[in-house]
């Protein structure tokens, strides 16, 4: 259960982007090969956001599929996370197009709260 550590890192990146301004929404992209479970990250977030610029923010997790591009046959396909060779031709020289993300995509500021 390392999602709390990851959540603390996320909040440091959010604080850096928001520069002290209140945040209403945080969007992250999570792929299953990152080793992070979005549901656990959300639960950790609910606790960790207290006392930060994100204390009233929603966390939006975009769950990314595992997708490969095969350099041998050119196929681009979605695959299960433990079958990472090309399902069409069996080649292992594949490029992961998506699936290992652990990315802070965007931070939306809470302008209504700012105005108060």
């Amino acid at each position: 259960m390392h999602e709390l550590s990851v959540c603390m890192s996320l909040l440091r990146e959010v604080e850096r982007a928001a520069r002290g301004r209140a945040v209403k929404e945080i969007a992250v992209a999570i792929g299953p090969l990152s080793g992070i479970e979005p549901q656990l990250l959300e639960r950790a977030f609910a606790v960790a956001r207290a006392g930060t610029v994100a204390e009233r923010a929603n966390l939006v997790c975009h769950e990314k599929p595992v997708r490969l591009a095969c350099s041998a046959c050119g196929q681009e396909v979605e695959v299960p996370l433990n079958a990472l060779v090309c399902p069409a031709c069996g080649d292992w020289q594949v490029r992961l197009c998506s699936g290992d993300e652990l990315l802070l995509e965007s931070v939306t500021l809470d302008v209504e709260k700012e105005a108060l």
Partner: protein, 263 residues
């Protein structure tokens, strides 16, 4: 094809954490700041710093990972004996509690720094950075970083190692690589530990374990080893020597501690 709704488009599934349930903003929201940074950016930057520091001293650093009880410490002990003073070894031990593993390593006359993580299930680059300050790297050729026994969390944290070595003991299931793909996908070497027990275990098939690693598009060597049988360690020792020979030559100038300025 999307498994949840059957559509042919591979779209992502969005989760919103708060019970309010509405996604109030769109990418067009004028108050949305596009960030696109890795969430573990701080850790990754410090890991890169550690790696640079280790390379500058000509130290090959290996991140040893496995389930608890797969024999990481025993393998380090046996490796110290097999190398027999030919290389100067140091060890960083990560455990939730106790100095027991560091005590075992020091009994071999090898410097060991124990990191006790409290309840944390993995090592991170900050902990390793602290531990590196307790070692004289100019007197080290080979550094083993023994991670906390856990096949899940350590996979997410770069420490600054040059390679990941994952132990899978033959008393575990040979399908562990299929169950823990995040870990076995990033392994540069997989050691099938306790291989001396294979004759009495009819349910662990080394070929099957290797097939599960290959299914992750990982071409890393898969080697059976036993800490109790010196003769099984030769391929592992040869792998260590080969990795050491590939290290960039240590620079003559002292490594400067530079820090990445925040934007």
């Amino acid at each position: 094809m999307c498994e949840q709704c059957g559509c042919s488009v591979s779209h992502e599934h969005v989760r919103v954490s708060d019970a309010k349930g509405t996604v109030s903003s769109t990418p067009a929201d004028p108050h949305a700041i596009a960030v696109l940074t890795h969430i573990l950016r701080e850790n990754d930057e410090l890991a890169a710093h550690n790696r640079e520091h280790l390379s500058a001293h000509g130290v090959l650093a290996l991140n040893l990972m496995s389930s608890p009880g797969s024999g990481k410490t025993s393998l380090i002990e046996a490796t110290i004996d097999a190398i027999g003073g030919r290389l100067r070894i140091a060890v960083i031990e990560g455990d939730i509690e106790t100095e027991n593993d560091a005590v075992r390593i020091r009994a071999k006359g090898v410097p060991a720094v124990q990191i006790t993580t409290g309840q944390t299930c993995h090592l991170d680059a900050h902990m390793v950075h602290e531990a590196l300050h307790a070692l004289d790297l100019s007197a080290v050729d080979l550094l083993f970083i023994e991670n906390v026994g856990n096949l899940v969390c350590p996979a997410s944290f770069d420490l600054g190692q040059h390679a990941n070595v994952t132990l899978l003991s033959v008393t575990e299931g040979d399908d562990k690589p299929a169950k823990y793909p995040a870990m076995f996908r990033i392994s540069d070497l997989v050691l099938l530990a306790k291989c001396d027990l294979l004759p009495v275990l009819d349910d662990f098939d080394p070929a099957k374990a290797e097939r599960h690693v290959r299914a992750l598009a990982n071409r890393a060597p898969v080697m059976p080893v036993s800490s109790r049988r010196r003769d099984t360690l030769a391929p592992w020792i040869a792998w260590l020597d080969e990795r050491r020979s590939k290290l960039p030559r240590p620079s003559a100038t002292a490594h400067a501690h530079h820090h990445h300025a925040a934007e």
